[in-house]
Every structure is written in structure tokens, then in C-alpha cells.
Symmetry: C2
Subunit: 224 residues, 2 copies
DNA sequence: ACAAAAGTGTTAAGAATACACCCATGT
DNA sequence: ACATGGGTGTATTCTTAACACTTTTGT
């Protein structure tokens, strides 16, 4: 009864975020071929037989950008888009994953596709419906950091409260009150002070903190 | 370069919830064939070429249960599961949709598959990983009703505050305080009183309310 | 001594919680 | 008159929001 079944094409795409100069940035590739030649697109590709979508995501990301998913402290399935066909063979369905990291290094000339991070509010011309996907991922990230400890994945192991606040401000796109931010965040007991200080220029050194636990956790009171 | 590409099978599954006798219930089919013959499974099926996953969901749901998606006030993509192959042809990837409705009628003998609603805490033996999927959907529904007006999709147009509270209790699986529930919910200004009453037995009639607007909305203050 | 970022507390308003009795109806 | 579910208010605690000055350092 299903013998005439001819499947849509299954693809995966990765939305990789990190903070660059206190701005939220997303990883894009420059398309070397039609369609959308010269425009920028999310790293992604076909899902091969016998591979989970998550494995396909890891493989395509490594192949096209040199990034290993092991370097991403947090990866999460985002949404499945019935995108416009990216391929003349037909209709494509793309399972997307959001990955968060810090100080991600792109091996120089990993591929001919020139992988680069772009601040989310200064995107180049983006191919397909990828601008929508990035917007969706950004909104999801905004809500994720308000009810979970997901920021840990964007910060170094030791960080200052100012760095933490700046991360929130970069993602949410608005300023937060310093005293209220610190009071609230510390009261959640997600982070603990170390006895180390971050010295950086002609001013008082900042106490370094660390997250108590890494795995994604839901907060007892949602943030902000 | 992608010429040896052989895709996984793309399927869709529907998790349809409604309230039955003040319990949250999910729609299942009895499998008539192997694998898992005699066990119960979510309605679903293959995604055909040229059809979006949402269209495939509507089609398979109508074919297997007689339900029209037009009768579901809220449908939302849930998650994409890399499920165990449901088909000897190979690896299956299932895009799932959650649908909410009320007073859904299953056309008698719509199919040989005996569609029925089961209370989520009294499920029969469920095939595949569908028990996990139902659990996932239930958790998502719990959080959805706390930060959106999604309950509207489970209630009739006019309803009493007690019906509303009972719906929350059925979904969340715990009791709520009547006075606090009413105070909070009314303060959100999502619903308005009508001038009609629900008479039902030997007690004071209950004032009927309606939602001010149907489309899914995020609440100003999250609920509960 | 100055510039620069780190650090810190209080008050007021709003929200959440806990809790018990009267009201309107049908029989 | 009684049984049944509908309806209502207050006091306490916790949370949020608004807001400005002192501290520590490097030059």
C-alpha cells in the first residue's frame, strides 16, 4: 500500500552560536555554488542512511567547518523546517540543531566555504529561509537562558559577574540592572565564587565564579 | 557528489489530546499488523513527496482516525524523533505534532484500527517508543499551559471557572487552590464573563466565561 | 590624583501563598 | 431543610524594580 512512496529529502542544519566581542554571533558559510551562490548559509547537508539526525549534524558540521560537536557544551534540537527545496531533486525537510560554544576556532581554510561568525544583528545576505531559522533560534535562546542555566555553554569555566551579565545583555538585546542582576543570579545558587580574580586594566580586579554544575538545568525561579 | 545518497524514511506522528471525563486523554490506534501487532500506537505514517510534514500529519490523521485537523484548534510541531525503524526498509525519522481539541468524535469504524482515547495515566501497551513520545508531549503541554493560553483549545467556547481549573488539574496532575486560581487567572485578562449560566444539578449555577482571543498567546506573567 | 570597572543595600510595589465560610439552586 | 458545587477576601511572605555611591586597581 505504501509501495509508491517516494520520500522528501531529509537534511540537517546547525545554528552555532558563540559570543564574539560581547555580541551574539552565528556561524555561516559562503555558498560556492548555485543556488544562492555567494550568499551565506547555515552549515548543513543531507542525512545519510543509517545515521541519526544528530550524527548527520555532527558530520556535516565537521566536514564543512572543521568544528567538532565535542567542542559544543550544549546542543539541542531546535525545530524541523519544511524548507523550500534546496535541491532540484525536490522538497527538503530540514531538522535543525542549535549548538552553543565559546572560543570556537575555525581551522583556517577548513573548506573552501569560508566559515565565519557573524553578529546576529549584522547578518550578511542569507540564503534560503536561513534568516528565519536564525531568528527562531535566537528567540529560543532568549527564552532558554531565562528558565535554564544554558549560558554556561557560552562562557569560559571561570568568569566574572560582569561577563555573565554582558552575555545576557548580548543575547536579550537590552541592558540589565547590575545590582538586581547579581542579587537574583546569586540567589539561584547556580554559581559559586572561586578565590581567583580576573585582572584586566586599571581598575579593581573582578572575582571569578564558576557554575556548580554543567548539565542543562531548569531554574527554580525563571530569570528576568 | 551526493549521488549515492540514500535517505532515511521520513514519517509523521500525531499526539492528539483532549479531556475525557476530566482526564487528559491521548488518541491511539490498535495495530492490526506486525510489528507490534495488537499493541497501541500513535496515528502516523509516511511523508509523501511534495507534501509538507504538516500536510502529511493531516492526511494520515484523517485516513487513520477520521479526525480532521480543522477540528483541532491548536496544532504544534513537537519534536523530531530518530525512532527505531518502524519499517524493515530502514531507519525512520519521525516528525511529531501535538494537537489539542475538545469533544472530538471518532467516526465509528473509520478504519479497522479502532481509534480510541486513553487517559494518559492509564495507557495500554504502547508500540515503538511511543510511550516516550506521549510523555514528552505531556510535559510540553504542562509547560505550555503555564506560559500561554493554550487551554482554550481543550475547552468549549463557553466554560465555567471550575471547568477551567479542572482542565489545569487534569493536565498538571495536581490540585490547585480555588481562590488563588481564580484571582490569578482573572487578573491575566485572558477571559471575560458572559451573562450566561451553566445549570447542572442541585446547586448554584456557574457563570460562563469565554476566552477573549483564540490564537495562542504568551502570558504576561507565567502561570503557576 | 585620576580614570575605569568592581562591588554593594534599601525601600516600595506587586505577586504568591495559605486559608474558611456564605450563596444559590434542585430535590 | 439539606446536599451540592459556586463564589468570595485578607494577612503574610516573597519577589521584583528602582536607584547612587564607595572600592580597588594601573598608570
Amino acid at each position: 500500500m505504501d509501495s509508491i512512496y517516494e520520500p522528501p529529502i531529509l537534511t540537517v542544519d546547525s545554528i552555532i552560536f558563540q559570543l564574539v566581542d560581547n555580541e551574539l554571533a552565528v556561524l555561516l558559510l559562503e555558498r560556492a555554488a548555485e543556488p544562492f551562490k555567494g550568499m551565506w548559509a547555515l552549515p548543513g547537508g543531507y542525512n545519510a542512511a543509517g545515521e541519526t539526525t544528530r550524527e548527520a549534524m555532527a558530520r556535516t558540521l565537521a566536514t564543512k567547518t572543521g568544528l567538532q560537536t565535542g567542542d559544543l557544551p550544549l546542543i539541542e534540537q531546535l525545530y524541523t523546517f519544511d524548507t523550500i527545496a534546496r535541491d532540484p531533486r525536490g522538497h527538503a525537510v530540514s531538522v535543525t540543531y542549535m549548538g552553543l560554544g565559546k572560543d570556537l576556532e575555525l581551522p583556517p581554510s577548513a573548506t573552501a566555504q569560508n566559515p565565519q561568525f557573524f553578529p546576529v544583528d549584522q547578518l550578511p545576505t542569507v540564503a534560503y529561509d536561513h534568516a528565519d531559522i536564525i531568528g527562531y533560534a535566537h528567540r529560543r535562546l532568549c527564552s532558554k537562558i531565562t528558565y535554564t542555566n544554558a549560558v554556561f555553554a557560552l562562557l569560559p569555566e571561570l568568569f566574572t559577574l560582569t561577563q555573565l551579565q554582558t552575555a545576557y545583555e548580548a543575547i536579550l538585546g537590552r541592558q540589565l540592572d547590575k545590582r538586581n542582576f547579581r542579587k537574583k543570579f546569586l540567589s539561584l545558587e547556580l554559581i559559586e565564587a572561586t578565590d581567583e580574580y580576573h585582572r584586566d586594566g586599571a581598575h579593581r580586579p573582578a572575582l571569578l565564579y564558576r557554575f556548580r554544575q554543567q548539565p542543562l538545568q531548569v531554574l527554580s525561579r525563571s530569570f528576568d
